[in-house]
């Protein structure tokens, strides 16, 4: 076998190749003839038939957007509505000089100069007969201004439409959320055909999570178009008869929230000028009565549309107004976890109601010289559990923490809902962090870092170290104390209402795993101590209960943002604001039949009892009918 034949017969190969090319060309011409014959058949012989078919395609179906459902608070006040507004539109094919037109509109301050490039791109990317929105909402003044100039702007006009409006914008921004312009990204998760006529969609909060309820179903409207797809009036009544019937859009459901606008406003005012959050819950249903994060923002800006710089300002603001601290902010809970921790200590037998500890102002572990300090340098003297809670003695908890152990601590706090998401019906909440040996093993890569130290258990007992919780989690946890173990999933939506039939669909409170204790007196003793915090002679937050017409239970917390060296004193006046301690407070009221549970956090507020507790008091006063308005 001579696979590599040394002598190639070039001449015969050439002839062979030539033959093959002729063969292939003939086959090619045959195939081409088939295509051409087909074209002749379609375009010459069947022309009449297809021309008639294409005429039938002259009716176009245009989507009609549904009216978005309204959002109400628990007392029926409108939190989100739809208002008629005029928007400025440009039809590219009717504009002679696009650049010049946009420049002149900018000169009239009808559009922003920095948006020109974006609007130009937008005008050039779609079909030339399709209107492009230049500005979503024109003020009365702008309408008047443009009306005079209108002859100078062929192809530019204003059109009426409905836009979302939030009458109490800033006070409910983080609970209700906002709608913004529909993006390509949104269309990947939404049913694109339903949004054929819609320009906006919910972006955060209830507006986003209940998008499917609020949006409604798109309708269709048949229009007669000319050969280029532009709408023309129907030439004759018969023409209208031949159209397929229109489909009316189905308006979206109204949504009723559990929040109380008054509480939202009180909490928003109380947090003004600060960074922080307030969450109030009805402990017996999980209804969220207030959900406030400060600083806040005006959600109407998103509905109307912002210029690049306005949006940049919101995004880059160091105080992060768009950040929902109430459900996303993760803070060391500080002493606010002591009531829950006391339950853990009592249940595991690490302490009992009579055990006493001598507090000298610091604690040391055996075989160690490191001093874990109490917030009170001179110490609390001899304290039992009751006094340890009411006076917030850290040393008592340091001491019992080693007996409870970090894993028990984790398991009990976990039952109060810390360390995992609460499942609230608006998305985006964070889970906080509840440390345990297992967590540390999984979290760190280096074996040296994976070991759990006793010292870490000690600081965990006062809610410091790795431990983190969201304000929503703290409110939910203190609500479980108020109900003595009954727990409900926190939620913001109470009902949805079909706008056409008026039929309401109530969303029932959802129970979650109840906390059952071996001895119910453990609840009594902890609640008793929390009562003492508010009303006792040496209670840390007694100032916050002054002149109250009802009794309440609470616990303050002050969480370190950075650690002070062993021998240094903490002097808040000398410390930069951002490094000051976070102020926390949890409470519920009235004592005997709790109706509201509150968690307050003020970032860098220095003192839980002095800064956070009065805010909680205002919220509880308002809800229980002793608000500032009521006393007048």
């Amino acid at each position: 076998m001579d696979i590599l034949s040394p002598i190639k017969d070039h001449h015969s190969e050439r002839r062979l190749f030539m033959g093959r090319v002729i063969l292939a060309s003939s086959a090619g011409f045959l195939l081409l003839a088939v295509v051409i014959a087909r074209l002749v058949q379609l375009q010459v012989f069947d022309y009449e038939f297809f021309a008639a078919q294409s005429q039938g395609n002259r009716f176009r179906i245009e989507p009609v957007p549904p009216i978005r459902g309204l959002v109400f608070d628990r007392k029926g006040r409108v939190l989100a509505e739809n208002l008629p507004a005029y928007q400025l539109e440009l039809i590219p094919e009717q504009v002679d000089d696009l650049d010049d037109t946009l420049q002149r509109l900018a000169a009239l301050a009808l559009i922003d100069a920095e948006d020109i490039a974006r609007l130009k791109d937008l005008s050039e990317s779609g079909p030339r007969f399709k209107p492009v929105t230049l500005k979503l909402r024109l003020s009365e003044e702008e309408i008047a201004n443009f009306a005079i100039q209108r002859p100078r702007f062929p192809g530019v006009d204003f059109q009426p439409r409905l836009i979302r409006h939030y009458p109490y914008g800033e006070a409910v921004a983080h609970a209700v959320g906002y709608v913004g312009a529909l993006s390509k990204n949104d269309l990947t998760r939404l049913d694109a055909s339903q949004y054929a006529g819609t320009a906006h969609t919910g972006k955060t909060g209830v507006e986003s999570r209940f998008e499917l309820n609020l949006h409604g179903d798109v309708g269709y409207h048949n229009v007669v178009t000319n050969a280029l797809g532009r709408q023309i009036p129907a030439e004759s009544p018969e023409m209208l008869d031949s159209l397929p019937s229109d489909v009316t859009p189905v308006p979206g459901d109204n949504v009723y929230l559990t929040i109380d606008l008054d509480l939202q406003q009180v909490a928003t005012r109380a947090l003004e000028g600060r960074r922080g959050a307030v969450v109030a819950i009805d402990p017996w249903s999980g209804d969220i009565l207030a959900l406030v994060s400060a600083p806040t923002f005006d959600p109407n800006l998103f509905a109307v549309g912002m210029t690049q710089s306005e949006y940049g300002e919101l995004q880059n603001n160091l105080n992060r107004p768009l950040f929902n601290r109430a459900i996303r902010g993760e803070y060391p809970p500080g002493s606010t976890i002591k009531p829950m921790l006391s339950i853990a200590a009592l249940e595991t037998g690490a302490t009992n109601l009579t055990r006493k500890t001598m507090c000298r102002g610091y604690f040391t572990l055996p075989n160690s010289t490191h001093r874990y300090r109490d917030w009170k340098p001179e110490g609390h003297g001899e304290v039992d559990l009751h006094e340890a809670i009411s006076q917030s003695c850290d040393v008592y908890f340091y001491e019992i923490s080693v007996d409870v152990g970090i894993d028990n601590m984790h398991d009990y706090l976990d039952r109060f809902g810390l360390g995992h998401v609460t499942g609230v019906d608006i998305g985006g909440e964070n889970s906080g962090l509840l440390p345990s040996r297992e967590w540390k093993r999984n979290y760190f890569r280096e074996p040296a870092d994976q070991r759990w130290f006793h010292g870490e258990t000690v600081i965990a007992s006062i809610g410091q170290g790795y431990m983190l919780a969201t304000p929503l989690q703290l409110a939910s946890a203190v609500a479980a104390v108020a109900t003595r173990g009954s727990r409900f999933k926190p939620h913001l939506v109470a009902a949805t209402e079909n706008t056409l039939t008026g039929k309401r669909e109530l969303i029932n409170p959802q129970r979650v795993d109840e906390i059952v204790l071996s001895d119910d007196r453990h609840w009594d003793s902890v609640i008793d101590a929390m009562h003492e915090v508010m009303h006792g002679l040496r209670g840390t937050a007694r100032a916050a209960s002054l002149n109250a017409e009802y009794e309440m239970a609470g616990k303050s917390g002050t969480a370190q943002v950075f650690s002070v060296a062993q021998e240094d004193e903490y002097d808040e006046d000398q410390i930069e604001e951002k490094l000051r301690d976070h102020a926390l407070f949890v409470a519920f009221a009235p004592l005997d039949a709790p109706r509201i549970a509150v968690a307050v956090i003020v970032e860098n507020g220095s003192s839980g009892s002095r800064v956070a507790a009065p805010i909680a008091r205002q919220v509880m006063d308002q809800y229980l009918g002793y608000g500032a308005d009521a006393s007048q």
Partner: protein, 379 residues
């Protein structure tokens, strides 16, 4: 002294386009082929402007892609065929490695793994469109033709391996076209006519085997072809609307940018796979025939270059590239007119989209290289 000799030959022969022709000749560009290609592209750009809804942005986008593709043509034309031949096995092996990579780590888009991201995102199957015929021609280069049975078996393996890898992505359309480019090399090399007829007969049971391997959507396309009206709003919609568009265009068309089927978006994928229908509607039968003539001119020029080529490698490769180009044209036009099932093959050089255009132009670059370097090679 061969170089000066060559130069004398080139200058001595009167260049058909005068001075400009001489410049292009120096740059290894074949004027008739380039003019044919540019005319197709120009007609394509005209109809594309209408098909993308008169969007200047998308149109300029395509113009930029054409620029890239022509640059690729120009660069490839500078490599002599000998150089290409030496590197052929490496290109082929590299392509295979990338195909395996794409199956294991590629990015998923529209239900298929076709893209690979190595700094730039691309489809390795594009490399194979050229590498497979190159490999076939490389293998046959030194061998006496027609090939013998054992050699045919080796060639078959060379074609089947990449075809199966691409079919696995799954991208059946491209896989079949790549297989076709390889088969064309074998046919041009002198595959016995008896064997061709035998294979054609065997393809009937082969079709049944293929049917078993096809995904549901692919089966649906074949069924739809047999009876498009059975599912007018589903799978048959494309073919029905496309036939209405072409048929209603008549002899002279409805006028540029005036096609109601295309402009009112009844016609799906009007700027990509179904752009031939847009042209049929707006420019009529005369427009379509002009385009087909241009295509035939380019294929004809390609075959002429193949016949003139001095060695087996160049001959087979040039022939395969030209005829594969014809296959693309046929598959797309036959698909759009409802002769064969919808296989998702764009109309070459006209449809919106960049990657396949660069590969096509690179292929024509090879043709130009083969033609312009032929006198430098020993006969």
């Amino acid at each position: 002294m061969r170089v000066s000799n060559t130069r004398r030959v080139l200058i001595g022969k009167a260049a058909p386009f005068g001075d400009i022709g001489r410049v292009f000749r120096r740059l290894n560009i074949d004027m008739p082929l380039l003019v044919g290609l540019l005319m197709i592209c120009a007609l394509g750009l005209v109809i594309l402007y209408s098909a993308v809804g008169e969007s200047m942005r998308l149109w300029l986008n395509q113009l930029a892609r054409l620029g890239v593709a022509l640059t690729a043509l120009f660069i490839v034309a500078q490599f002599p065929p000998d150089f290409l031949r030496r590197w052929t096995p490496w290109a082929y092996m590299g392509g295979l490695v990338l195909l395996v990579l794409v199956l294991t780590t590629g990015e998923i888009g529209q239900g298929a793994r076709r893209w690979l991201d190595l700094g730039i995102r691309f489809q390795p199957s594009e490399i194979m469109k050229l590498a497979v015929p190159m490999m076939g021609a490389w293998y046959l280069h030194d061998r006496q033709m027609p090939p013998r049975a054992g050699q045919l078996l080796i060639l078959a393996v060379m074609i089947i391996v990449p075809t199966l890898l691409i079919a696995r992505q799954p991208d059946l359309g491209t896989a079949l076209l790549i297989a076709a480019s390889g088969v064309i090399v074998i046919i041009l090399a002198g595959l016995p006519i008896r064997l061709m007829i035998g294979l054609a007969v065997l393809s009937v049971p082969g079709a049944f085997v293929l049917w078993r391997f096809m995904a549901d959507y692919q089966k649906q396309r074949v069924l739809t072809l047999l009876d498009p009206d059975s599912d007018p709003l589903g799978a048959g919609y494309n073919i029905i609307q496309s036939k209405i568009a072409i048929g209603s265009g008549g002899l002279f068309g409805k006028g540029w940018t005036n096609g109601s089927q295309a402009q009112l978006e009844y016609l799906p994928e009007r700027d990509t796979d179904f752009i031939f229908a847009v042209m049929g509607e707006e420019l009529g039968l005369l427009g379509l025939l002009s385009l087909l003539c241009l295509y035939m001119f380019v294929v004809g020029r390609g075959l002429y270059i193949a016949i003139q080529a001095p060695d087996s490698y160049s001959r087979l490769l040039a022939g395969s590239i030209s005829l594969t180009f014809f296959v693309y044209v046929f598959v797309n036009t036959a698909m759009v007119t409802g002769i064969i099932p919808v296989v998702g093959v764009p109309l070459p050089l006209v449809s919106f989209g960049g990657t396949s255009m660069v590969t096509l132009m690179a292929g024509f670059g090879i043709l130009m290289s083969i033609h312009s370097h032929r006198k430098l090679l020993p006969r």
